[in-house]
């Protein structure tokens, strides 16, 4: 075992982690621990753009952006946080340009902007051109640019280090604060303890709880999982976004930019069905509405294909040169993986699990909360792992690339500032003990259950019972299945017993996080007897502001026998200027 000491430890090297590292690295002794090489992070898969009211191509302002964000989130957004994000968006885009990000340009040489779902002028009048982009690889450009800046600033990375525990200590003042993290080095199998004054969680999402997902294999909710196991709450986990246009059967993302550039969704009868569901902005309605409309078309027998189980994304009316200039990557995905030529054929699409609106609760300073109000000193979170909450019950397209830049930067600054004023906390006794026990328990286990089988069954039940449409019965079925899977998980074994690059062992660890997080998602979904944003209950199809316009706060409980359970509480929504209205587009 090795022990290290840093002012700031950042966990994760996607957009949020690296944006934080650029700030913290210039102000304090900073280490970035990442389970992947930084440029492998899933920020790189984001396509369509990053919204900011630059008003480069038409009238716009950040207040309209804030309103769209609040309405898009079906009024579960904390409005003070949305104001911060949309106001700082402009500076965040300009910062990236100054770092060298190659944005597409207007004829005048300024940053070009395009339309995106749910982004409107003057509180819903019409779609507005707000998304700043680099073809359909904006996330790739952001990830590369942030990594380039980390190279420039000589940020210290620990690549392929899996952080498996969060260290919290209670001082003489009775306050529970951060003391660091424990990590597993993939190359050697060695355990490392990092004593740190500040820790920033920036580990991304947990899309692998679902089978059909746009998420990478590595998005297993590790950051949410370690916080959860240390007794910290998770907020609004029942809200999971299903992106409308995944490649049918595969889940690979086709950007909303396809519709922003003029693409149209059609059912099996060739009808532009979004005209019925969102008469004003049609195909550019927010993702929850489009995904639900698509699923409904299929359910009512108007799907396309031999099994009528998908709908079609039609780009055939667009000029091939326009497609090549603005949507080169996603059209290549259609050719490579489905053998479909988007110039001439519509592309089969179906909703795919995409984004966790919920996560580790933070305030606008990115400080992690231990309950509705109490800050955990020294612990910060930003990006998809966190819930600020700027996305409420449904995130608008492009607002995640914005989130990681605005709150990643804030986290880096806040972590460095805290480390400058607070002493390095002492490590708890035997800080590595729990991680060593977890790993050795898995390595020496001799059960007959297989990780891949349990994971597949987890993903199957979540797709079947906790996806776009949910009911009390389906969610109870999911919970029953998850309970049984967790019992079987206790009986797994891994085949690779080695120390070097033991990815077999780590897949087992990751599955543990996925199972527990799936239970939190389902528990919250059962309790929320209303439909709001990404959470749609067929047995409660209306939004219920009287009883449910509040955040869900889930806590891990332990019974006398040491078995864990879930206790649910609520947290008020912060409302500043927008009172809830019916959500029509």
């Amino acid at each position: 075992m090795q022990t290290h000491s840093y002012d700031v430890v950042i966990v994760g090297a996607g957009g949020a982690g690296m944006r934080a590292a650029i700030e913290a690295g210039q102000r304090s002794r900073t280490a970035v621990l990442t389970k992947l090489y930084p440029t492998r992070s899933h920020t790189g898969a984001a396509q369509g753009g990053m919204c900011a009211a630059l008003a480069n191509v038409e009238e716009d302002n950040w207040e309209w952006h804030t309103f769209d964000t609040v309405k898009g989130g079906d009024y579960l957004v904390d409005q003070d946080a949305a104001e911060v994000m949309c106001r700082e968006a402009i500076e965040a885009v300009l910062d990236l340009e100054k770092m060298g990000l190659p944005f597409n340009r207007t004829p005048e040489g300024r940053i070009d902007q395009r339309r995106f779902g749910g982004h409107t002028r003057n509180h819903g009048e019409a779609a507005v051109r707000r998304s700043c982009f680099a073809a359909d690889r904006t996330g790739h450009m952001i990830l590369q640019t942030l990594y380039q800046q980390c190279v420039k600033h000589e940020v210290e990375f620990f690549n392929e280090f899996y952080v498996l525990d969060l260290l919290l200590t209670t001082g003489e003042d009775g306050v529970r604060r951060t003391a660091g993290v424990v990590a597993y080095e993939l190359a050697t199998g060695e355990v490392h303890v990092f004593n740190a004054t500040s820790v920033v969680l920036a580990t991304g999402g947990a899309g692998k709880v679902y089978k059909t997902t746009s998420n990478a294999h590595t998005l297993t909710g590790d950051g949410m999982g370690i916080a959860w196991r240390r007794g910290l709450p998770l907020e609004d986990m029942e809200f999971f976004q299903f992106h409308p246009t995944g490649l049918a059967g595969l889940g690979i993302l086709l950007s909303e930019a396809a519709r922003g550039e003029g693409g149209i969704l059609r059912n099996g009868e060739g009808e532009r069905f979004m005209e019925r569901y969102a008469p004003t902005i049609k195909d550019l309605a927010p993702r929850d509405i489009v995904a639900r409309s698509m699923a409904n078309e299929v359910r009512e027998g108007r799907g396309a294909g031999p099994n009528k189980d998908y709908v079609l994304l039609d780009l055939t009316h667009l000029e091939p040169a326009h497609i090549d200039a603005k949507l080169p990557d996603i059209t290549e995905f259609a050719r490579t993986y489905l053998g479909v030529e988007p110039y001439t054929e519509p592309v089969p699409v179906y909703p795919t699990a995409h984004y966790a609106m919920g996560g580790v609760p933070t305030n606008v300073e990115t400080e992690v909360l231990a309950d509705n109000t109490t800050v955990v000193p020294g612990l910060f979170a930003a990006g998809e792992v966190a819930c600020v909450s700027v996305h409420g019950s449904n995130r608008l397209g492009t607002n995640s690339l914005l989130d990681i830049n605005v709150f990643g930067r804030r986290a880096g600054l806040a972590a460095a500032a805290y480390a400058a004023r607070a002493p390095r906390p002492a490590l708890p006794e035997a800080p590595e003990a729990d991680v060593v026990a977890l790993l050795e328990g898995l390595r020496s286990a001799t059960g007959t259950e297989r990780v891949a089988v349990i994971r597949a069954e987890l993903q199957e039940t979540m797709d079947m019972n906790a996806q776009v449409f949910r009911t009390e019965a389906s969610l109870k079925q999911a919970m029953t299945d998850l309970d049984a899977l967790r019992e079987r998980y206790a009986l797994i074994s891994v085949q690779d017993k080695g120390q070097r690059y033991n990815t077999d062992l780590l897949e087992a660890v990751e599955l543990g996080f996925l199972l527990e997080l799936a239970q939190v998602i389902v528990a919250g979904a059962l309790e929320r007897k209303e439909s709001r944003g990404g959470h749609f209950r067929e047995d409660y199809p209306d939004r219920d502001d009287t009883n449910h316009m509040r955040h869900t706060m889930a806590y891990r409980s332990l019974d006398a026998a040491g078995r864990d359970g879930i206790v649910l509480d609520t947290k008020p929504v912060v409302t500043t200027r927008y009172q809830p209205m019916e959500r029509k587009y």
Partner: protein, 261 residues
Amino acid sequence: MSTTTAVLDDAARTSTDSKGKAGEIAGFDVTIRVRRYDPEKDTEPHWEDYTVSAYSTDRLLDALHKIKWEIDGSLTFRRSCAHGVCGSDAMRINGRNRLACKALLRDLEPSKPITVEAIKGLPVEKDLVVDMEPFFQSYREIMPFLITSGHEPTKERIQSQHDRERFDDTTKCILCAACTSSCPVFWTDGQYFGPAAIVNAHRFIFDSRDEGSDIRLEVLNDREGVWRCRTTFNCSEACPRGIEVTKAIAEVKQALLTRKL
């Protein structure tokens, strides 16, 4: 060489299930021949055959997962996004560098064993995993970040659409190392910067906003720099992003000769 066969297990199939793939469903058995090496157990690398059931639209990555998840959990490879944008899973497949997640089985002559080995020229750590550090070291040496002087503008820098287009091709790089590890010069001379580092230098040298071209060109004028390129075009063929790598290298050579961008 040993052979193992997967028992078909529907429950363990992943999101690559045939469902919804425009009606095309034709299952078949395919043999994957993997060059394996675990320094904790093996004195030298050896080939091992695995037969798995697959669909023609499956990617090689799906077959590797099937082996790992159903036959031998110790088979080790890197992967993440599984659709060709993260650059984790560059491998030598039937003797050619490709991403396992972009190589469809039906395009790999699946009637014969498909060979899979680690990319060449970088130290093999375990099975298909190589040490990427020398590769990233070369990348860092070309100073892959925008270099400017003077005051920053209050708003964005202005760049014409034409100037933006000038370096568009080389912005696509995902640092997968497929190009560099396909280069015969790199195989014999590990000090050579390699195509990927030159591609990333090109990305900044031809960016109208950048003022660091002279320094980068000097770095690449080194004896281990662009002049080692023998124009074999392996790199261009290997690039999973379709970057015209050899052309980018030629443009850097030209810039060095004329010192004109």
